[in-house]
Point group: none
Chain length 415, copies 2
């Protein structure tokens, strides 16, 4: 199988504040085709240095991917440097220029003269349409090598790579079938999960098992390679089925869908709706729920009740309840969920209240979070959590916990 070198271009990635993350996405996609990343290089916006780097990469790897440096400004040198390294010219494309101009027109803004720089292609390169930005990607072949130029912003690079590059690469590669399973698990720590499932997966090198952890959310990727789809599926089942068995109801997704989408499907199937009352998460649960397209089917809305006064005035919580138990308590979490459900008429409501830090207002330790749940015709409930980390991590954990709590209540899974 061919090897890849990824070159990330941009002086900002040579500072201590920024890091190249595009290569992580690219690595995942390339690995799924059976292609390995051999080297990753990060260089600044320096024409001569980048030209050298492209030349050297061609001597190490069959596929060279450059990310970034396709913007309209003077310091966007990727097009120039690649052309120099390959001994080619840059050719102006009137068609690309027209497309860029059309993008600006659509937004009712004039195209700056400088954007014409983005309409140059390396001689012989194919333009890869960029649905989310002005700079197209470029695909070229050179003495048996493939050189790909991709825009730097992840929101542009990812869809472009998936749509334009993956099929082109797949056609070039030896016939091999790769099949994957993509499990997601909530409410379990990474090392606990690993202790449970390592006895199964560690006996296999094919499928390859990869575990990725985010706050409250763990992804398990299984990737099997074989010469037929049937054989690859059989390998996947050998590892995937016992792993799923062990995880039981903690496994919330078998196809990689995020929790908010799984939840949305559950609510839509049942014709149910959910409302929110968020305190410490300040809108993050709402953001997650509404990240799914079509969430208006099951999400009417909710309340951001950050202050105690808002909890009282918007949700009708008795101030005495707050003074007795503090705002960070199961009692208040329950009252928030009840208030939100009654005021919206939703089938369910969930609430969050906690101490995200850096300081505690209620006296409860930083990391303490209560999630409340209310459902018509059932007594409301709350669950207490204690999350590690700083403000951002605690809020991320709390958001995930709230969504998972709702999923388990809807499915009748014991918490």
């Amino acid at each position: 199988m061919p090897d890849v070198e990824i070159i990330a271009v941009g002086s900002e990635m040579l500072t201590s504040q920024r890091i190249d993350t595009n290569s992580l996405f690219l690595t995942d996609q390339l690995n799924s085709l059976g292609v390995e990343v051999r080297r990753k290089l990060i260089v600044g916006d320096d024409r001569a240095l980048l030209t050298d780097a492209v030349r050297a990469a061609l001597s190490h790897a069959e596929i060279v991917i450059l990310t970034g440096g396709l913007g309209p400004t003077e310091d966007d040198v990727t097009r120039d440097a690649t052309a120099s390294a390959l001994g080619r010219q840059l050719i102006f494309s009137q068609q690309i220029c027209d497309e860029i101009e059309a993008r600006f027109r659509l937004r009712r803004r004039p195209m700056a003269e400088i954007n014409k720089r983005q309409a140059y292609l390396v001689e012989g390169a194919e333009a890869l349409p960029n649905a989310n930005g002005t700079a197209p990607g470029q695909w070229m072949e050179h003495e048996g090598h493939v050189v790909i130029l991709l825009p730097g912003p992840p929101g542009e690079l990812k869809p472009l790579f998936d749509k334009e590059c993956m099929p082109r690469l797949a056609r070039r590669l030896p016939a091999q079938v790769i099949r994957t399973r993509f499990y997601r698990v909530s409410g379990l720590g990474e090392s606990d999960l690993d202790a449970m499932i390592a006895p199964v997966y560690s006996r296999y090198t094919n499928p390859v098992t990869t575990i990725l952890a985010a706050p409250g959310d763990i992804q398990i990727h299984l990737r099997a390679r074989a010469s037929t789809a049937e054989e690859a599926e059989k390998l996947l089942a050998e590892v995937g089925d016992p792993v799923a068995e062990i995880l039981g109801p903690r496994l919330y997704s078998r196809n990689g869908h995020p929790l908010e989408q799984v939840l949305g499907d559950l609510l839509r199937e049942r014709g149910s709706t959910v409302a929110l009352a968020e305190s410490c998460t300040g809108g993050m649960v709402g953001e997650r729920i509404t990240a799914a397209a079509g969430s208006s089917d099951y999400f009417p809305g909710g309340f951001l009740v950050y202050s105690d006064r808002m909890k009282t005035e918007l949700l009708g919580i008795d101030p005495a309840l707050i003074s007795q138990h503090t705002a960070v308590s199961g009692e208040v979490a329950v009252a928030m969920a009840e208030g939100a459900r009654q005021r919206t008429g939703a089938s369910f409501a969930i609430s969050t209240t906690g101490e995200a830090g850096p300081e505690s207002a209620s006296g409860a330790p930083v990391g303490t979070v209560f999630v409340g749940f209310s459902s018509a015709g059932h007594p409301p409930e709350a669950q207490r959590y204690s999350f590690p980390g700083g403000r951002e991590r605690v809020r991320g954990f709390a958001t995930q916990a709230a969504l998972e709590y709702l999923r388990r209540k809807i499915l009748g899974i014991d918490i």
Copy 2:
């Protein structure tokens, strides 16, 4: 000033799960000495590939730092590859071997035979004691270059670098100072911004100017080097002051603080509060505002009014207004902001309503967003925007626009 190339060694850093973070620490330390990182390379545990990489690095940079690959196993190839690249031998050091053995004795464990591999020094290298692990670092000079080998674990690398390498590097370097400015700008596209300020910054190579764009938010980094702090500040002012002048009120931060923090400071200074009514952003504005620690000083809460019914029931918007103008209209945005302010008693309220896609419910094109603003004693207002991209990008732009709209209204800046 000399330049540095950092080579991170380890196949695990070529997967999608691991990232090289040692180089961020090293970059900070090196920058403080006035040394720039010119390239960063990540290579696997491959002797031949690493040997090539060290040779190439010596042609690019005066200082070459290798991190990782100093362990005791077969795939720890950094010592070997460096010796090969420099045309030197590896020499066994009985003294280092004794020190490693003593470490093991201290932990009452026998030293494995394999650990003797860590007692080899590149011929002519100086061992750098590692207080936190078995593998010492190594410092060598070669034809005017410095080559440094560091252990990979951050807990070993960091103290070793600070104690052993920083003083050695400082002695070799001409005294130099680095000073930075970090501007942030909202409500301007990258190419428009560049067209405005490139005439100023492009005439200077010192300070170096770097421009980074996120949806609705642009960062401008200026970095000046000089032999004194005064001179570096003077260079920064030469470019930074006219750039700030050109950007005027669009420049919302001169110290890198994000918009939500700048806004929080403005509100706190004035003793003002802000409430929210979010539709298309579904909680994202609340999340941003409450991401700042201490946001309870100025954020009581708000409403997630995703459905039309919630807009009517929670905010008291006349259903006729919605049927007349659709929910995605300036009229409804204004009514949402008014309703949120009146129901919370906040000084200000902002609202969002729009079509984030993938489909439009109101008939307005996907990307259309209205931000509403309400303030006691002033007529409410709304602003229409048209954002590019998919659901996630449109929501990101809308969130940033809402915060920026509020900032400008508070400061009395004409939109």
